[in-house]
């Protein structure tokens, strides 16, 4: 593995003679003949935040699971405070002071915060559970990590960010020396992320060794003391965070200089708009939104999570109950709205929830690809399997879907390939308006740039494309024009050079920036 970048590979910033809280040597994992991780050497010291970055499939999750005892080691050894240790399972690791906070929220929604924290290890007094003591200790730990919820709150009623904090609180109930956080900010909006980063800084101050995995390089830059990069199941190296820019990190992850990640912008479209929406309100999600999209442009939709972006477009599709003044598509008034009806009219929507609403994870590629276009692929009474196979081969080529076998189920594919399959699925009927909600959520940088190319290709082919994105660089990089939403309303329209991260954030968060409403 040759390094294309001449960066100092330092483990500096820490005293040479300090004993690491957790040391890994020659760590590796194989499933049968397939090696997924090899030769990882890590030192994690008390009082540091150590970030692990890498593309999807680089081995980050495997490394976390090895360190926290969730899966057994194939090679290598672990040391804690100079003593050799082996973790038979996650429980042993937790007893030794190493805890993994999972990416998914694993809490019982109907129990209280305290009930969740002490689930499976309830305190008792005689035969009775000791609610008073559990609530007291819960309140204490919530205070330390700066969570605003109360021990008696029902977890299901809490906002996502508070649930994430409860999950962290649960991990910190016992004193821990090593805390591993697996993409804790994946589901959080920006201001919630900032609060969580403060919690993590607090952990560091109190002397915990924090291992932090994240896709968001800006967070890594803001938080980490040292950074370890993984690529293709191998360790690229460890760097002092100060010595790396975000671009350096990205290039180390990919192993090559990044070409332009975003395709160049297109000339401004003229003529009649393809889709005009007038006064669309969707339940509590979106109010009186009006907008238009022209063929040959990318309309970006920005805003915080919860600002009503997804609700607006799910409402437009007829997937949520909504009221609307008027909608015209290519000059024709639209009266009935359903996914099927829109598809026939030439408008499709790619959901942000790839696994829950996008693909049948237990079904094969072919079934998923054609589900939205059954009438087109199979015009007769009986299924036309030959035609389906032809379409699948075409889609695999056109969208560069890379799988070992076409008989795999969608759930067996990587996130990037799933996203490409989903894109191929909605494009089956050659629509004229394409709405893409979070085009690259949770997929690696290589697949990302390919998706951007596909989007560029669609626009240049004269389609009107709407991209909803929570990733500011993506929004800025893709959009020819951008609408920003806040609290269910479209609060700003940005064009050309005005589409900057600062302007989007300002419009999305400020409470008085409504002067540009309704264009």
């Amino acid at each position: 593995m040759t390094m294309s970048l001449a960066l100092p590979n330092l483990a500096s910033g820490l005293p040479d003679d300090a004993t690491p809280a957790l040391r890994a040597e020659g760590l590796g994992k194989a499933y049968g003949p397939i090696t997924v991780l090899s030769d990882v050497a890590l030192d994690i010291f008390a009082g540091e935040v150590h970030a692990i970055i890498g593309e999807n499939g680089a081995g980050k999750s495997t490394l976390m699971k090895l360190l926290s005892g969730h899966v057994p080691l194939t090679w290598g050894r672990l040391e804690m405070a100079g003593q050799s240790v082996t973790f038979a399972d996650a429980v042993t690791a937790e007893a030794a002071g190493v805890v993994l906070v999972h990416q998914e929220i694993l809490l019982a929604p109907d129990l209280s915060v305290a009930g969740n924290l002490f689930l499976g290890r309830e305190l008792t007094r005689g035969l009775m559970v000791d609610d008073r003591e559990m609530n007291r200790r819960t309140a204490e730990i919530l205070r330390t990590i700066g969570a605003s919820c109360s021990p008696s709150d029902r977890v299901g009623d809490l906002p996502l960010a508070q649930r994430q904090l409860v999950q962290i609180a649960r991990a910190l109930l016992e004193p821990r020396t090593v805390v591993i956080l697996d993409e804790p900010t994946a589901v959080l909006a920006n201001e919630e992320v900032d609060a969580l980063l403060d919690v993590i800084r607090g952990l560091r101050t109190r002397g915990a060794a924090v291992l932090y995995i994240s896709h968001r390089l800006d967070e890594v830059e803001a938080l980490a003391d040292r950074i370890t990069v993984l690529r293709d199941g191998q360790m690229v190296g460890t760097w002092c965070a100060k010595s790396l820019s975000q671009r350096d990190m990205a290039e180390l992850m990919v192993g090559r200089k990044l070409d332009m990640l975003y395709p160049p912008k297109r000339p401004a479209p003229n003529g009649e708009p393809m889709l005009v929406v007038d006064n669309l309100s969707v339940g509590h999600g979106a109010q009186e939104a009006s907008f238009a999209v022209w063929p040959g442009e990318v309309l970006g939709i920005g805003g915080m999570i919860g600002s009503g972006r997804t609700e607006l477009f799910e409402g437009l599709l007829g997937l949520r109950s909504s009221h609307v003044g008027q909608i015209t598509l290519d000059g024709h008034k639209i009266s009935r709205r359903s996914v099927e009806y829109w598809r026939k009219a030439g408008l499709v929507y790619l959901t942000e929830d790839r696994k829950g609403k996008g693909l049948l994870l237990d079904e094969t590629l072919g079934i998923n690809l054609t589900l939205q276009a059954l009438d087109v692929v199979h015009p007769g009474i009986a299924l036309d399997r030959r035609n389906e196979a032809t379409e699948l081969n075409r889609a695999v080529d056109e969208y560069d879907i890379r799988v070992r076998s076409l008989h795999l189920t969608a759930g067996q594919m990587s996130g990037g390939n799933q996203q490409k399959l989903l894109l191929a699925k909605i494009m089956m009927t050659d629509p004229s308006v394409v709405i893409i909600d979070e085009p690259t959520r949770g997929i690696d940088i290589g697949n990302k740039s390919q998706i951007y190319e596909f989007i560029d290709r669609l626009v240049r082919a004269g389609k009107a494309v709407v991209v909803i994105s929570s990733e500011l660089p993506e929004l800025v990089g893709l959009a020819d024009r951008a609408l920003v939403m806040r609290a269910g309303r479209v609060v700003a329209e940005l064009k050309g050079d005005d589409i900057t991260e600062q302007n989007v954030v300002f419009a999305a968060t400020s409470t008085h920036g409504t002067n540009q409403e309704n264009n």
Binding site: N56, V339, N393, V403
Partner: protein, 329 residues
């Protein structure tokens, strides 16, 4: 490990033998082998034909149930619905005999299909439009249908008019080209079911609705329409089963079709259809029905276990099948 290094797959054929899908057929084979070794008369032509003929009703209803379960629902009311449809059918025929003679049978058969379809439509609409758990809905209609047949028969039985018996008899007792008529009818239902589920867009939509209603919805598949249709198909299957059943006993009673829902659901589940929906197996269901019927038959033939315990054995089988599902995974 990263899949970016894999070549784009084009027409790669890498199918292994799907042992899990063959499970029901292997089990059926084992049951037959065991049956042959336990009892000499088991493999006799008479007994075999008897077993296959007797399983016709459950098989026909179970084909419908395969659709309902694949689409992510459940119908507990099939046994009571069967009794109710049978009762309505016999009453219709008896009333028409004076004016129409034997033609009353055709009208009665039509009525059975229509009433079955309407019962299924009612179940389906309450489940889909009313958005109530299918378990609760069909538990309710199960009680309703059972009470209706008891009421209609005044707690006794509703016999078919004597003058119709001779003309109607061949539907169950007759045979065509050496194959008993109920078996022929079953084969036709199975063939249509397999075509619908495996070879049509409707089958795909059933699969999608059962696999993930959200994905189906976001793909423009009307889950409401698909599931309602599945319930209607179930009702029509019950109607067909009723048409075959009437000449056998010549009457509808409050115990007609009792606990058939247990047999039907057991057969579907041991046939490989997923109870949570998404994966339907028509031929597996047929194997499941035969397994149950053969076990019951062996219990009668061998005298080792009282035939009064048949339902207990079937109940045990469905629980074991579900446990096997759980632990093999």
């Amino acid at each position: 490990m990263t899949d970016a290094t894999l070549p784009a797959a084009k027409g790669v054929r890498g199918r292994r033998i799907p042992w899990a899908d063959l499970g029901p057929f292997i089990a059926l084979f084992i049951v037959i082998v065991v049956g042959a070794s336990v009892n000499a008369s088991f493999l006799s032509e008479t007994n075999m034909l008897n077993v296959v003929t007797r399983s016709a009703f459950i098989a026909i209803i179970a084909i419908g149930a395969t659709f309902v379960i694949s689409s992510g629902c459940l119908d507990l009311s099939v046994g009571s619905m069967m009794a109710f449809v049978t009762g309505v059918m016999i009453l219709t025929m008896n009333n028409l005999v004076p004016t129409m003679g034997n033609n009353a049978i055709f009208v009665g058969a039509g009525v059975a299909l229509v009433v079955g379809a309407l019962c299924g439509l009612m179940n389906g609409l309450i489940v889909t439009v009313g958005r109530i758990e299918p378990f609760i809905v069909t538990l309710g209609t199960m009680g309703i249908f059972r009470a209706l047949i008891t009421y209609m028969s005044n707690g006794g039985s509703i016999p078919i008019d004597r003058s119709l018996r001779e003309a109607y008899r061949p539907v169950y007792f007759g045979s065509t080209l050496g194959i008993p008529n109920p078996v022929l009818i079953t084969l036709v239902v199975v063939a249509i079911g397999a075509f619908l589920l495996y070879r049509t867009k409707f089958g795909r939509r059933v699969q999608a609705a059962g696999s993930s209603p959200d994905v189906a919805l976001f793909s423009g598949v009307s889950v409401v329409r698909v599931r309602t249709t599945a319930f209607v198909l179930q009702g029509i299957c019950v109607g067909i089963a009723a048409i075959c059943y009437v000449p056998r006993l010549g009457a509808a009673t409050p115990t007609t079709g009792q606990l058939w829902e247990l047999q039907v659901i057991t057969a579907v589940v041991i046939g490989g259809t997923l109870l949570r929906g998404g994966k339907g197996r028509i031929y597996g269901t047929v194997a499941g029905v035969l397994i149950l019927e053969i076990i019951a038959n062996l219990m009668v033939l061998s005298n080792m276990v009282s035939e009064y315990l048949v339902a207990a054995v079937q109940g045990t089988i469905i629980i074991l099948a579900m446990l096997a599902h759980r632990f093999i995974k």
